[in-house]
Each structure stands twice: as C-alpha cells, then as structure tokens.
C-alpha cells in the first residue's frame, strides 16, 4: 500500500518530463501547487476572517480584543434583526413550498407529456436561472406596479411587502426546483410505472406508491436549494420589499452603509452556517443512493 502513492507520483513526473527538462518540470509542479493554495486561500480566508471576527469582543471590527459570543447575543436581542429574520423565514418557507409543488409539476409535465408549446416551455422555464438578478428585480417591480394599478381600480389597495417578496422568490425558485427534479426523472425507469399499472394500481396510486417515492430525493434536493436561494437573495428582495418588510440579507446590506459592525459579522456567520448546512444536505440527497444492507 505505501508504495502506491509514490508509484503514481513517478508516473505523473514521467508524464510531465516529456514536456521539458527536469528543472522546468520541478518549477511547473511547484507553481501548480502554489496556485492551488492561492485559490484555496482566496476562497476561504475571507470566510475565516468573518467567522473569527464575529467572536471578537471589541466594539470596532478591526481591533481584536478577545474571544466572546457577545455579538451573537446583541444580534439576537436586536428587534430589527429578529423581525427581518421572521420575514426571511416566512418568505423562504412559503416560497419553497409553493415552488417545490409547481416546479415538480412542471418537471413531470415536461418529462412525460408531448403537448402544444412543450418545446417553448422547455426552453423558457429555465430562463430565471440565467437572467441577471437585477433584471429580474426590475421586471418584477414593474410588473407589481402595473398589477397594483389594475387592482386599485377595483377597490382594495395592495402594497409591496412580504407577499410580493414571496411571489418573486417563487418566480425564480420554480426554475431551480424543475431543473433538479428533471435530472432525477431522467434516471427514472418508466417500466416501473408500467409494472405498477400491470399490478392493478390506478394512475394516481402508481404515482403515490412508485413514482413519488423514487423521485422524492430529487424533490427534497430541489426544495433545499430553493430554501437556500430564498434565504440568500438580496437584489430581488430589496426591489420587491415594501417599507415594513425587510429580509435579513436586505437588512444586512442596508446596515452596512453605516459601517461594518461586529454584530453584522455575527449575523453573517449565522447565515453562512445555515446556507452551508442546506447546500450540503441538498447535495447529499442528489447523490445516487448507495445500497446499504
């Protein structure tokens, strides 16, 4: 066993040696190694700085005074933070539920049925993934303004708020859920449905007992992705949020104009932890299940 890594390293250096002399070979290898470390540092040093300074006891962000969880306490005691967190959670959970149902239905329809306009829908359903956030935000704001004008003529007055944020999040989340669920459906063996039908299951029971359990990991992965995207969104939320309703990322963004505080470090660290947890869970669900005895 211990000889194996060396053998593969020898093979690699042999392959590299065909490119040049021993000297260039060695320096190329060192450069590549250095580059890998540089990229790694580039990605993770800011995160480490953020996390470390969120435990800083000091009033000022850039002066280290000692380890403390003080700012976590301050953040959680701040009513503005708590109310923004509440809005974020309401928006995230409601938009996740709705977009998961609708996104799964879209994925199923695109996978199974040949209907008029299917190709057009197939191409455009993923559009929200590629169009810039800012475009989407402006688009939705204009849309809501027009719709409100229309509703106002009938009677009730609507304003931007939690509902409009949630609707906007549903609009982009449907696409992400549809993509993830469709990837799962691609691997789904349709003969299993035929077998269920052959064994006296009605179409609905075939879906409930065979299709749904087998694509459930894809649906769950899509839902977790939607939850993450909703919790992290700033641009679209900022445009569609009304005066009374701010999400946590939007609150953080607006607070930063008054300078970075250790409290923001603490909030950001909490959001980072939540995002990483959700993304890891989503990836774990998308991985093909290994057979365990």
């Amino acid at each position: 066993m211990p000889s194996e890594p060396r053998a593969s390293r020898d093979e690699k250096s042999q392959a590299v040696s065909t490119l040049g002399t021993a000297g260039t070979k060695r320096s190329a290898r060192h450069l590549l190694k250095a580059n890998a470390w540089f990229v790694f540092a580039f990605l993770y040093v800011p995160i480490v700085v953020l996390v470390v300074f969120s435990f800083n006891d000091s009033e000022r962000v850039n002066v280290w005074q000692g380890l403390s969880a003080r700012w976590y306490g301050e953040a959680l005691g701040n009513t503005q933070v708590i109310s923004a967190l509440r809005v974020s959670l309401i928006v995230a959970i409601s938009s996740t539920i709705v977009s998961t149902v609708l996104g799964t239905a879209v994925a199923l329809a695109l996978d199974r049925y040949r209907f008029k306009g299917r190709r057009a829908l197939d191409g455009t359903v993923y559009l929200p993934i590629v169009i810039p956030d800012i475009t989407m935000a402006v688009m939705l704001l204009v849309f809501f303004a027009e719709v409100f004008k229309l509703i106002d003529t009938i009677g009730p007055r609507f304003t931007l708020g939690v509902t409009t944020i949630a609707l906007s999040h549903i609009a982009f989340n449907i696409s992400f859920v549809a993509v993830v669920v469709r990837a799962r459906l691609d691997q789904f063996d349709r003969t299993l449905e035929e077998a269920a039908r052959d064994l006296y299951a009605t179409p609905w029971r075939t879906f409930r007992r065979v299709t749904l359990p087998l694509i459930a990991p894809g649906i769950a992965a899509g839902a977790l992705l939607a939850l993450t995207l909703s919790l992290d969104d700033v641009v679209i939320s900022a445009f569609t949020a009304g005066p009374g309703a701010t999400t946590l990322p939007v609150y953080v963004f607006s607070s930063i104009r008054q300078g970075v505080t250790p409290e923001l470090n603490a909030i950001s660290t909490l959001m980072l932890t939540a995002s990483i947890t959700l993304v890891v869970a989503s990836l774990a669900l998308q991985r093909p299940r290994s057979t365990t005895p």
Binding site: D189, T191, L192, E194, A195, A196, R197, D198, L199, Y200, A201, T202, R205, R209, V210, P213, L214, T291, P293
Partner: protein, 375 residues
C-alpha cells in the same frame, strides 16, 4: 397456417383471442393484422427477431399499449380498451422492473394491496408465492441485493401471487447467463404445469421457444407468419422466413415443376410435394440432420441423389458437420445452361465413418423430410 388447439386446452373459450389486431406508432406499423387464439392452460411462445412486433403484441394483451385496430378478448371478455389495472393478466418484464424501494415481500404483496387484500390473508399468499419460487429467507432483502436469477424469481412471484388468468413473460430469461437460462427453462415449464395458468412467452431465441412451449407463433415485420406446435413449425415451415429462422436448414432455390416435383437451380429435378402453381420460384428446405451422405462409389441405387464434393468437414464431438458443394462446378454430369452452384450442410453422428474434404459424395434425403417454401 395451423391453428390446432393445444393438447391440454381446458375450456372452449380461448384465453386470448385476437382478430385483426394492428398497432401503429406514427407511420411505423409495429403489429399488422394479427389473428391469434391461445388456449386455456397453454404455454404459448411468440417468436421472432427483434423489432418483429412480438413485444408490442404482448403489451397489447397487458394493456400497456392500446391496439390501433382489431378486437382483443381475454376469456371471452372484450378488453382492447381496458386500462392495464383492470385486466386479469400480469406481466414478467424483460428487466424485471422490480420496485427498488421495496423489499422482496413488499414487491410481491404490491398487487394484492392494490386489490385491497391485506392482513393475514395477504401475508399467507405472499408466503405461498415466495415458497413457490423458492425465495424463502429473502423476504426482507431489496432487489439490488439479489442475483439476476433471484430477481427473476421475485418478478415471477410478484405476478403469480395475483393468480392471473394469463401470465405474460417478455424475454424473461434474456438477462441470464446460458447455464442459468437452461435451468430456468426447465423450472418455468414445471412451474407452468404446477399453476396451470396460460403462459404467453416472448422470445427471440428459437431453441428456447421450441423447448418450452406447447405452440409457437412466429412473427416477422409485424405479421404473424405461422402458428403451430414446435414440431409442425420446425418440420413444415410455412414460408422461407420461418424455415430459415427456426433451426438450421438448407434452402435450395428452384422452380416448381408440378405438385410433386421441384427443379433445383443446382441442376436436378427432385420429388417434393407442394401446392404452388407450376413454374413458381420456390425453395426446398432440407434440415442438415435429414441429409444423407454417401461416398460416390457407394451411392444406393434407385435413391434420388445429387452429386457433390465435400468442401469442409467440422468435428463437433457428437456429430460432424459437412459442407457439400453441388451443382455445375461440383463435377456433376450433364450440366445445363442457367444452372447455379449451391452448398448443402449435412450433419451426421460421429459413429459413422468420417468423410474428408475434397471427397466426391452423393447427397440424398427422403422426400417426406423436405418442405417447399415460397416467399
């Protein structure tokens, strides 16, 4: 076309009855006007090369495909437009289609559950089916933890537990290796006798079809070409395709010279009963094991013989396979214009004297052993 009832046909109502069944997918005609009756308790094989429409025919019986035209009855009931969950048939799928998220027992119990059979009654039936296919002790495993042969048994039990009136099997042995396949052939046949259910079996393997079934239906390009017992189909193929597809045969091209004779292109008039118009192009089908070879000097007097030369001799252990060139180039006397050379494959038991390549021989066969086939 023979449509003799199966020897053990139980009732007068056929298990499956098809009249003018066709299936089109867009412009493609998958099944083209099939008429077929399968008797109660019969082991029936639908045989043909891939793409001949045999699987589509099976799927129409199951209800997984709906016929474009024609009538389809199962035990006298018109079912052509019924959904699969209402039909009294079950299917063993080609790749088994076991539910991967359920255990063996849950897979077998699925059909019972869907029909509302639960509790101790269902448990007992699942246990019986598990025992029938010898899978005791595997109940709590998942399909992914089973071998191919075991998965095959689960698929069988999952279908048979419902006591279907007809069991449909789509190339059920195709995914198994040769040895296991031969074992399962014997087992499946014994199982069919035990449960007494009509089996409709789709296969592209003619040996499998001949070995297992009471009757065989040969399909090609969407059409049912011939239906008969394995012996009928083998010994009296209805046309050139069937003769060529079922087993090995020599097809000697020629022209009919009357109801009892064919002039072969290789240059001889041989006795062969046929019902074709005089002068029709036809082929004489002679099975290799029916061909008798003699050293030219020892040719029996009086027997109709063709002269030829052995071009290849292959030793197979239990038999020799010879390739014999006949016709003008083989040194036959009295060559006429327009005659063409042909080769004949002959098989003989190893016990007889071996002949060597290059040896001049006479070839003969008994006229009853041949069939005249047209396109």
């Amino acid at each position: 076309m023979s449509s003799a009832p199966s020897p053990d046909a139980g009732s007068s109502v056929p298990a499956v009855e098809m009249h003018g069944i066709s299936k089109r997918f867009g412009d493609v005609v998958a099944v083209d006007g099939v008429d077929l009756q399968i008797g109660d308790g019969e082991f029936f094989a639908l045989l043909g090369p891939s793409g001949c429409g045999k699987t589509t025919t099976l799927r129409m019986i199951a209800g997984l495909d709906i016929p474009s035209e024609g009538r389809l009855a199962i035990f006298g009931e018109e079912v052509a437009s019924w959904p699969p969950d209402r039909r009294p048939v079950n299917t063993v799928f080609q790749a088994y289609a076991l539910f991967p998220h359920m255990t063996v027992a849950q897979n077998i119990a699925f059909g019972l559950q869907m029909r509302g059979i639960r509790g101790p009654d269902a448990d007992r039936q699942v246990a019986e089916a598990t025992a029938l296919v010898q899978l005791e002790g595997m109940e709590h495993r998942r399909p992914s933890q089973l071998s191919g042969g075991q998965q095959q048994r689960v698929a069988l039990a999952r279908a048979l537990v419902n006591h279907p009136k007809v069991l449909l099997l789509d190339e059920p042995l195709g995914a198994l290796d040769l040895k296991l396949r031969q074992e399962m052939q014997v087992e499946l046949k014994a199982l069919q006798r035990e449960v007494g259910i009509t089996f409709v079996f789709v296969t592209h393997d003619q040996e499998e079809a001949l070995a297992m079934s009471d009757r065989v239906g040969v399909m090609s390009e969407g059409r049912l070409l011939q239906v008969g017992t394995p012996a009928e189909v083998y010994e009296h193929p209805a046309n050139r395709f069937v003769a060529d597809f079922i087993g090995r045969t020599n097809l000697l091209e020629g022209v009919t010279e009357g109801p009892a004779a064919v002039r072969l292109d290789a240059g001889a008039v041989v006795a062969a009963a046929n019902e074709l118009a005089v002068g029709s192009p036809a082929a004489l089908s002679v099975r290799p094991e029916q061909v008798r070879l003699h050293r030219r000097s020892e040719a029996p007097a009086g027997a109709p013989c063709l002269d030829g030369v052995i071009t290849d001799a292959t030793y197979l252990g239990h038999a020799f396979v010879y390739t014999v060139a006949i016709g003008p180039t083989a040194g036959a006397s009295g060559t006429h214009a327009g005659e063409r050379a042909a080769t004949i494959t002959a098989r003989s038991e190893t016990g007889s004297a071996a002949l060597a390549a290059g040896e001049p021989v006479s070839v003969s066969w008994s006229p009853e052993a041949t069939t005249v086939v047209a396109d």
